[in-house]
């Protein structure tokens, strides 16, 4: 039998590396297996890294990690065909230590993070696919890779193999996705000079901004679009649930083209050179879709456990926190010398008491509500734009009358009762 490890971590994204790093730091013998050419080569995310969870793993990481810009402004657009109602917050305090969050490019960032793990003693193997978990009497005892002599053994296997976790499916923890449980997001990295980015987004060097766009950015379907500024490029992307895409017969790349040529968006990216095109599934099922996360000799972390808060576009932070919680459980289980499901269920308990599951629970019906009642994106966004236009157009009508007209236009378009119903339903979904 080949060498035995304390832990085998499948995947070198934020969840896998957080887990591998913490285990190795506490003296465990860790093997981490990544299918890509290097960590980050297969990973896709809009590009916002949250400071808090990263800092808990590597204090003051911003001093050495390859980050793009600290985010000092968050904008939200309710966009219609030729107009947009926007609000946002810009605060210079986010541009100073300890910062709030950062834009990042995943390829350099994940490589850096994985290297920190290797420095702690993680044995990282790239370009290797894990085909299945090896089990003995129902207990996971290792993994089979696609390489010759490819079986390796460990007390615990952590599945951090991403949203479409084939390994969790093989173990029967996961079912095939329903189309309303996942979003398909496509994005492009567009190269733009630093000066152009600073001018167009009203920023200075080392200041970044994020724009989340609702409404016409997805042609009124459930989903959002985003534009994030990097140092010398912007990430622009759009995602909707697969079910919306199927219903509206949308092609993801058409939707991205639509966004890029939208009159509200085009001036921001004009003249940029497309550097990369990426597409990825995002787990959006939320609370109801979280599978079994602990079994005999096995744990699930990050996207593989469907830990994404679609409403707040948080995922990498949940991945990191869950990876660390998995590591802490493994360290305790090692002390107990017990890697059974009962022992590893400590992870499930920590997870369910943490912000991760609490946040997912808070929004457990949000995606489903918005999916079922398309009026929020399809009707209210344009209504809001018309109202703003009416209110701000100077035409000699007294403001009080304008307000009355706006209120009337809301209720006459959808009916007073239905508007009240919609408001109550939305409030209930996110309260």
């Amino acid at each position: 039998m080949s060498e035995k490890f304390d832990v085998i971590v499948v995947g070198a994204g934020p969840a896998g590396t957080s887990c591998a790093y913490t285990c190795a730091k506490n003296g465990l013998k860790v093997l981490q297996i990544e299918r890509g050419e290097y960590p980050g080569s297969k990973n896709v995310m809009g590009g916002v890294l949250y400071r808090k969870q990263m800092e808990e793993i590597i204090p003051e990481f911003w001093k050495e990690a390859p980050l793009e810009r600290p985010v000092i402004e968050q904008r939200f657009w309710m966009m219609d065909k030729e107009s947009s109602v926007s609000f946002g917050y810009k605060g210079l305090e986010w541009g100073k230590e300890p910062y709030n969050n950062f834009t990042v490019l995943r390829a350099p960032f994940d490589q850096w993070f994985a290297k920190k793990g290797v420095e702690q003693g993680v044995l990282l193997i790239n370009e290797t696919v894990v085909l299945e978990c090896l089990t003995e009497n129902g207990k996971v005892v290792g993994v089979r890779t696609d390489r010759p002599d490819g079986d390796v053994y460990a007390d615990v296997v952590v599945l951090a193999d991403g949203v479409n976790s084939l390994l969790a499916k093989q173990l029967g923890y996961h079912k095939e996705f329903r189309p309303d449980e996942v979003a398909l997001t496509v994005m492009e990295v567009i190269n733009l000079s630093k000066d152009k980015i600073n001018d167009r987004f009203n920023l200075e060097d080392n200041q970044g901004c994020t724009i989340e766009i609702f409404g016409d950015s997805t042609k009124g379907n459930l989903g959002t679009a985003f534009i994030y500024t990097n140092k010398e490029s912007v990430n622009i992307g759009v995602g909707t649930t697969l079910s919306s895409m199927i219903k509206a017969k949308l092609k993801p790349y058409d939707l991205l083209d639509y966004l890029k040529t939208h009159p509200m968006v085009r001036p921001l990216i004009e003249g940029g050179e497309s550097a990369e095109y990426l597409a990825h599934l995002i787990p959006e099922g939320g609370y109801h879709s979280v599978p079994k996360v602990a079994g005999d000799g096995v744990l699930l972390a990050g996207d593989a456990a469907q830990l994404v808060n679609a409403i707040h576009r948080e995922g990498s932070n949940m991945a990191m926190a869950s990876g660390t919680m998995a590591a802490e459980t493994i360290i305790d289980a090692k002390k107990r010398g017990d890697f059974s499901e009962t022992s590893l269920n400590q992870y499930r308990e920590t997870l369910y008491q943490s912000f991760i599951i609490k946040d997912l629970e808070k929004y457990k019906d949000a995606t489903h509500t918005f999916e079922h009642y398309p009026q929020y994106f399809k009707e209210y966004v344009p209504m809001l734009n018309r109202a703003a236009s009416k209110f701000f157009t100077v035409d000699g009508t007294p403001k009080k009358e304008k307000q009355k007209e706006i209120m009337k236009s809301f209720t006459s378009e959808r009916g007073t009762i239905r508007v009240l119903q919609d408001m109550y339903r939305a409030w209930k979904a996110v309260k």
Partner: protein
């Protein structure tokens, strides 16, 4: 049997960009990889070791500290150990100074374990000169055999090796004495998918790194930029090849045109 394979870290020239102003390679635009011909050289050493059933494969490289990556890659393919010579004194070396430095490192390696065979790639894809391999052989006073496409037989007791070399219009079967130095073509073998134990060994492996002071009897004037008489006169980006000619018309017409073309260029088909 002790086989030493010389390897080089190169930018992946398949995707590298060229700075249009200076005509030099923009090295940041491409990842650093193990020179593809050298990967085949390592694979051939693994094949020979397997055929004989025993032996040691050492890899040797010269470069900056990050070049340990190509030694680790060689361990993945199946090498046993690796040496990197890395020193500011080696920087800026052309093929003459490089082959001098590598031959000094080979002398040091063979002091501990005599070398029976040296294998290099045909050339590095960033320079395409193919001079370092023969340069090492000349300095070590062993025969160089270039453009090898097959190692047909290795007789350990007779100390002979039978080799197929690629030449312009076919191949040549020759016998040489070992120790000798081979430079190999890509068609000599196909790179195998590395087994998991090799991957784990490579991930843990730390190559032996030598500075100039670790080498013996070194004439420092022959090292690095100082030891490099090569002058780059001019650099230019070669024009993109024009597309081929498309023959139009029905089958008979096309054949007629083709025969005309072949007749026009018949000197290309006359054997020497």
């Amino acid at each position: 049997m002790h086989i030493v394979v010389c390897v080089k870290q190169v930018p992946d020239t398949k995707i590298i960009k060229i700075n249009p102003k200076t005509n030099t390679l923009d090295r940041r635009s491409a990842p650093a990889i193990l020179n593809p011909y050298d990967a085949h050289a390592v694979q051939e050493a693994v094949k020979i070791k397997k055929a004989i059933g025993r032996g040691t494969i050492s890899v040797l490289s010269m470069g900056p500290p990050q070049a340990v990556a190509v030694i680790k890659k060689s361990i993945e393919i199946g090498a046993d150990r690796g040496f990197l010579i890395s020193d500011r004194a080696f920087a800026g070396a052309d093929t003459l100074a490089t082959s001098y430095a590598l031959s000094k490192a080979l002398e040091r390696i063979s002091k501990d374990m005599p070398v029976d065979l040296i294998i290099c790639g045909k050339h590095a894809i960033d320079g395409d000169t193919g001079q370092v391999g023969p340069g090492i052989a000349r300095r070590l006073d062993i025969p160089p055999v270039t453009n090898v496409i097959e190692v047909s037989e290795l007789n350990e007791s007779e100390k002979t090796i039978l080799i197929k070399r690629k030449i312009t219009d076919g191949y040549e079967l020759i016998q040489a004495q070992v120790p000798c130095l081979l430079t190999v073509e890509k068609e000599i073998n196909s790179i195998e998918y590395s087994p998991m134990p090799n991957m784990m060994k490579a991930a843990k492996y730390e190559p032996i790194i030598w500075s100039v002071n670790d080498l013996e009897d070194v004439d420092r004037t022959q090292l690095g930029l100082k030891g490099s008489p090569t002058i780059v006169g001019k650099m230019f980006t070669p024009p993109k090849p024009e597309g081929g000619k498309r023959l139009e018309g029905n089958a008979d017409k096309q054949i007629e045109q083709l025969m005309e073309l072949l007749n026009d260029k018949k000197e290309l088909f006359v054997s020497r």
